[in-house]
């Protein structure tokens, strides 16, 4: 229920966000395309391109299916057990894989699932003589599930936790069996967010690079992202890199369009806003099931993290953490993470408000509807623009402005914000939608608007999803190496850069230690994302 002025403002904000993001990408692409390589264009759609295109889609599809499919039982179990010791820490740890530099995550996984890893050592103990190799598609899938199952679980869990308390009351008084609860309450809630979550995970897996190469076992496992990197970094052939990037975006758009064809179920019902309390799942069977599901997920998540932590403990952590270069890198990383997190959250709000205003407009014309679609598309597809394209393109665009290296931090922050936008959208959008439906009419009839509405109505409810989105975005940015390979800024040191730098000069012990510290910082950040949770728990 918006006044005409409010609607105009919201839509204007969306147009602004759309323009800025499009410009940011377009400038990079145009700068790259206007560069004359002085050589004849190579054929794009060779047998090789077809093969890696097929492999990219196939592994991303399987990874998504596994990550989201397995996240469903985990989210259901965690939602049904809103208070058990350690629950909050499992949820917090779920944000850590996102904040780890990919290589570190891969080494952690290898420590568990590798040939000499814990899993194979246990097999050896029970008499299997040859190590079971994960290298190949199975390794890629394990890694993608490790990185994405926690993300999917948290997004699904959030949607379950938003269900009105009345649902559980009614379910309990009707004596619903677990299956009925699932069919009538949980499944519709999951279905509302699942396509968005699946799309996000798909895009993350499709653009995976290091994990695919390291765990894929050979060049048969190659994604388009590898080819894009190769043609831009190694061959310096921008037209080819851009063409490959468009191919990636085109194919994904079609797939996401297919996902979005599934009709969205009914929106949220009204609620008195009491704190949810679950009355179901008190039987032994469901307790045992939940315990097993949560335990397996926790072990799967914690073991590689523990392997990283244990390697890290061998390092001289005090010396590392007190070195000047670390302090400087940590400060840089955190400021970049904060800026990119705030930009991502801010842009998400602009986009969500605009789409919501359009959906409420009684007479939204084709123009507004396509604006809404463009906003939705843009805010997810932006994840597919390879950072190396943005980095190189912006290098070219900024070159006339003099000393290029001073733009590096801002550029990294913006690229990270763009990457985090789809995450932030998926955390905030469902929460804002539910909140609007519950409070929109009431606020309108009370004439609440502006600051007082934000303070009394929006802030108390929306602060949690916003903080969660912020912590996701910051973690993501913390683990990112940054696409400034060409910028030549020796003063610009981030934590992941420091980790890679140590690895590149044989100091793997230091790298392990730094990775542990980075993990701890991420964990601390996710405490922001889960802040206030305990307080809101009913005293069940």
């Amino acid at each position: 229920m918006l006044t005409a002025r409010q609607a105009r403002q919201a839509i204007g904000g969306g147009v602004l966000a759309l323009t800025l993001v499009s410009l940011f990408v377009a400038i990079a692409v145009i700068a790259l395309l206007s560069w004359d390589t002085g050589r004849a264009g190579s054929r794009l759609m060779t047998a090789y391109t077809w093969r890696i295109l097929f492999f990219t889609i196939w592994q991303a599809f399987l990874s998504t299916l596994l990550s989201v499919g397995l996240a469903v039982p985990v989210a259901l179990a965690l939602a049904r057990r809103p208070s058990f010791p350690g629950r909050i820490w499992i949820i917090r740890l779920m944000a850590v894989p996102m904040g780890l530099p990919v290589l570190i995550g891969a080494l952690g996984l290898i420590g568990i699932w590798g040939r000499q890893g814990m899993a194979n050592q246990s097999l050896l103990a029970i008499g299997v003589s040859q190590p079971v190799s994960i290298y190949g598609l199975s390794g890629i899938l394990i890694a993608h599930v490790f990185f994405n199952l926690p993300l999917a679980t948290r997004l699904l869990l959030a949607s379950l936790e938003r269900l009105p308390a009345e649902y559980w009351l009614i379910a309990s008084s009707l004596g619903m069996k677990p299956f009925s609860v699932f069919r009538l309450i949980e499944w519709p809630a999951l279905r509302r967010v699942a396509p968005g979550v699946a799309g996000l995970v798909y895009m993350l897996c499709a653009t995976s690079f290091t994990l695919v190469l390291v765990l894929g076992g050979g060049p048969a496992a190659t994604t388009l992202e590898v080819a894009i990197y190769q043609s831009l970094h190694f061959d310096f052939d921008p037209p080819r890199a851009i063409a490959l990037a468009f191919l990636q975006i085109g194919v994904t758009t079609i797939l996401l369009a297919l996902i979005s064809v599934f009709p969205a179920p009914e929106a949220w019902g009204l609620t008195a806003g009491r704190l949810p309390r679950r009355f179901d799942g008190s039987g032994f069977g469901s307790k045992a099931w939940d315990a097993i599901v949560i335990a397996i997920a926790a072990v799967f998540l914690v073991l590689p993290l523990a392997s990283i932590a244990i390697s890290g403990l061998h390092a001289d952590l005090i010396r590392l953490a007190s070195s000047d270069i670390f302090v400087k890198a940590a400060a840089t990383s955190l400021s970049i993470a904060l800026v990119s997190g705030l930009v991502a959250v801010g842009f998400s709000i602009l986009v969500i408000n605009a789409r919501s205003a359009i959906s409420q407009a009684a007479s939204a014309g084709a123009g507004l509807k396509s604006l809404s679609a463009a906003l939705a598309g843009l805010s997810s597809l932006v994840l597919l623009v390879p950072p190396v394209v943005l980095g190189t393109g912006w290098f070219l665009a900024l070159r006339p402005m003099g000393d290029i290296s001073r733009f590096a931090p801002i550029l990294v922050a913006l690229v990270n914000a763009l990457m985090a936008l789809p995450f932030a959208m998926r955390v905030i959008a469902p929460a804002m939608e539910a909140h609007r439906i519950r409070t929109g009419r009431l606020s309108a009839s009370l004439g609440l608007a502006g600051w007082s509405r934000i303070r009394h109505i929006d802030f108390p409810v929306l602060i949690r999803p916003m903080l969660m989105a912020l912590s996701f975005a910051m973690a993501l940015s913390l683990g990112d190496l940054g696409a400034v390979a060409l910028f030549g800024s020796s003063d610009f040191t981030t934590l992941p850069w420091l980790v890679y730098n140590r690895l590149a000069s044989y100091r793997s012990n230091d790298a392990d230690g730094l990775a542990l510290i980075l993990g701890i910082i991420c964990l601390a950040l996710t405490m922001i994302g889960t802040a206030g949770r305990e307080r809101e728990r009913p005293n069940a």
């Binding site: 290589l103 080494l107 040939r115 060049p219 801002i410 390979a485 910028f487 890679y500 590149a504």
Partner: protein, 337 residues
């Protein structure tokens, strides 16, 4: 929104101020290089300090990701580049670097510079080199391969991690090595070697990280890698396998930019680069071999390293011409099932 915007703008402004332009100095030598050269463990800081003491100037390192990015950046900047020196190309990039016609003959005395394979060039001056080698873990591998042929035909259950020639220079090095030894039979060799390859990583760090974590007992690295472990970690555990056919070499070179406004200073720097002052530092910071006799003997560990009897080095033009075809050949051989 405004409530979010204000602190955000403040943070962004702080970020921008944090990286404000450095103060201009009278005479500055701008050296483009790669990051691991200038990192605090690398030779960069020592080289800078030593040169600044003698030249009465300031050395400004601009470090990009790696040697390939270095050349890309020069290509993009063209004649307007601020670089006086480009340091960190390898011989495979020389042909492409010459094609840019951005470089001028170095014009320095290289009588004392000697690299295996007799590489010499009047424009690109070698400052260090390393032979590629298979490094193995002596705790796991009791009979290391004695030749490339041994490696190719050996027990497929003993694995090796290699780098990808599409994304890394050691990967390209192995590709050229196999090509040098096997010639037209390279695809067959790769098809066999493939069974021993645990994985192909995007860069050296990933492969070497897997190796030191004990995941894989062999890795493609340099003959000098064991020196790091012996000097810094006091362990003989990791050793290079000497291959009877010989080893492929990677030579790192530096060149003088034609457009340099400090040409004399730049020449002085190149000369300095091959003098004992820098050559003494290179082995234990860049973990590569010096190109001229250092003034103080190298640590003991270096005398224990494999000294290849034969060095392979393909001409840069030949590599530039065939690289894509050979990579395609490699892809086909490695992707067969």
């Amino acid at each position: 929104m405004r409530k979010i915007l204000v602190p955000f703008l403040a943070a962004a402004a702080a970020l921008a101020a944090h990286v404000g332009p450095a103060l201009a100095q009278e005479k500055t030598l701008t050296v483009y290089t790669y990051e691991s050269f200038t990192s605090d463990w690398g030779p960069g800081p020592k080289v800078k300090a030593a040169f600044e003491k003698t030249c009465g100037c300031k050395v400004d390192f601009v470090s990009v990701a790696d040697g390939v990015a270095l050349l890309t950046r020069l290509k993009l900047e063209g004649e307007s580049t601020k670089a006086d020196i480009a340091l960190g190309l390898d011989t495979n990039l020389v042909s492409e670097a010459k094609a840019t016609s951005l470089f001028a003959p170095a014009g320095i005395d290289t009588a004392k510079v000697k690299v295996p394979g007799n590489y010499a060039d009047d424009t690109f001056i070698p400052y260090d080199y390393g032979h590629f080698a298979v490094i193995y873990d002596t705790q796991t591998i009791k009979n290391p391969p004695k030749s490339l042929k041994d490696l190719v035909d050996g027990d497929p259950s003993q694995k090796i991690a290699i780098e990808d020639p599409r994304t890394s220079t050691p990967g390209l090095g192995l590709l050229l090595w196999v090509k040098s030894v096997y010639g037209d039979k390279a695809p067959e060799a790769w098809a066999k070697l493939r069974k021993r390859v645990l994985t192909v990583t995007p860069g050296w760090s990933e492969a070497y990280g897997m190796f030191t974590k004990g995941e894989v007992p062999m890795v493609l690295s340099y003959t000098t890698s064991p020196a790091y472990h012996m000097v810094e970690e006091k362990t003989d555990r990791y050793q290079a396998a000497e291959f009877s056919e010989g080893h492929y070499i990677q030579i790192e070179v530096a060149g003088l930019l034609k457009g340099s406004k400090n040409r004399d200073l730049a020449r002085q720097f190149l000369q300095f680069l091959v003098s004992p002052a820098v050559q003494d530092v290179i082995p234990t910071t860049n973990w590569m071999m010096p190109v001229s006799a250092p003034s103080t003997p190298l640590p003991d560990a270096f005398s224990k390293l494999v000294q290849p009897r034969k060095t392979f080095l393909m001409g840069s033009d030949e590599v530039a011409k065939n690289r894509q075809a050979w990579i395609d050949e490699w892809l086909t051989a490695m992707s067969m099932n």
